[in-house]
Amino acid sequence: MTGIPPADRVGAADTPGRSAEAARGEEPGMVEEPGMVEVVRAGALTTVQDLGRPGWAHLGVPRSGALDPSALRLANRLVGNPETAAGLEITLTGCGLRFRGATTVAVTGADVPVRVNDRPGDVGRPLAVPAGAVLRVGPPRTGLRSWLAVAGGFAVEPVLGSRATDTLSGLGPPLLRDGDRLPVGVPAGPPAPVDATATVPTPAEVRLALRLGPRADWFTPLALELLLGTAYTLTPLSNRIGVRLSGAPLPRAVVGELPSEGLVLGAVQVPADGQPLVFLADHPTTGGYPVVGVVVDVTPLAQARPGTTVRFHGSQR
């Protein structure tokens, strides 16, 4: 009931908002719609994301949304979208998209190779895409995830006010697959001026400010010393729900079970094995293991590959 659930929880059968699926019913290539994008290569894990669906946690609905909301916001500004528009979150292996009509796109996040047909493009700048052109986002040189915005945004059906794919609950559109067609909305206006750094260098070591609580008192003083004083390694058992860390196990002062309680983004939960995990956007709404502290800003973890060193430090009060 707690912690990161098994992978078979991901992608429930009755997933609403399957606009791409509906579109697939058409004869391929028969309808020339400018507001449509064809997925030439979906990659290992590409999802539609916006700023998520906060406000439903009391019904067991996770917040979801882009793992680095500021990167998605920037991509949207670069193409003239409201910051709340839906883009794509592209993980590690990249993806390829064919655009029916001429448009403008922008890629932010990890340092990735970008090409529009044969023309190289830059991360963090608006890119003109001619009608029929293919945009290819390659695997990142450093980092893990990219966000792609298109003028008008991806206009899949919203679910509870959000177009985000929630990999825990299965709400929102399904993971992208080769051959999917995604609807694109009407461009809202001219691009906004660029006012932020496009890419952030990915350090070999991620340092995270941590505020202790709500259950720091369930751990021994030694546990808090270890948590704030030793290095942890990000394990491959990490995804949009959370990142699992390995390192010094954190000894408990209080034994026994914690009744389930509400979880926040960035909560550092410590399961029975004493190895901490940090919850990200698709985290469950409640959990039954004690939360020793809360990471102030989890966005650096959006770019942290397995093997990355993670250090926690006490936040300024």
């Binding site: 609580g213 709500p214 389930s260 926040v264």
Partner: protein, 258 residues
Amino acid sequence: MRIRPAGAHALLLDCSDADADADADADADAATFDANVDDTADTEHGDAGRAAATVVADRVEAWRAELWRRREQGDLDAVEIVPAASTVLLDGLSDPAHTAALLNDWAPTPISTGTASTGTTNTGTTNTGTISTGAVEVPVIYDGVDLATVAGHWKVDVTAVVRRLTATEFRVAFCGFAPGFAYLIGLAAGLGVPRLSTPRPRVPAGSVGLAGPYAGIYPTASPGGWLLVGRTDLPLFDVHADPPARLAPGTRVRLVAA
């Protein structure tokens, strides 16, 4: 009630801690919550022996209703108000320190602790997500594969298990695990059952199960370790409905025989 820090934008109201008030006796029960979860005592207790989890859940429910009401009035800027087993999480606060100060001046109205005869606990409040009259009746076909196991824990026969479950008025203590999954409280103390030591890889949607002090219904198929007593066709979560969850926190529920 104790306020625990939960990061830069959240507070956790802990309703299990001892208050210096009339609930002191109940808190002694609360301390034994863990022992009671898997308790398989063979007798039903009177009100003095109400499940400790229920006593804490009543306090959580009182705070949940109060905080939803305060937010509706504009006194509270929380984006999320999330009740759970013994806590209420307030998330998305612009100023947690300010909210903590407010909380110290607020006192929820204790809710009635009886069952059907006491009626709704939220009369006079608005938009709490609860029904104002009556309980949601969930039609259940009592043919679960674990009925005999539950009967063994309760030291009664299967007929008596079904009779107890249909006679109980439950209340949604909180939601979690999956969208629309409600933790239903209301079973008498001593009727808690353990979970399976190995969860089933797939529990069908609509399955009604028991675990610890709770009853619950799986809204969608998922892995799960609760003891299954029956099933229902009632849709529990629909993104096109308002509210999307049929069983929101505070809702009173009856698991009637279909």
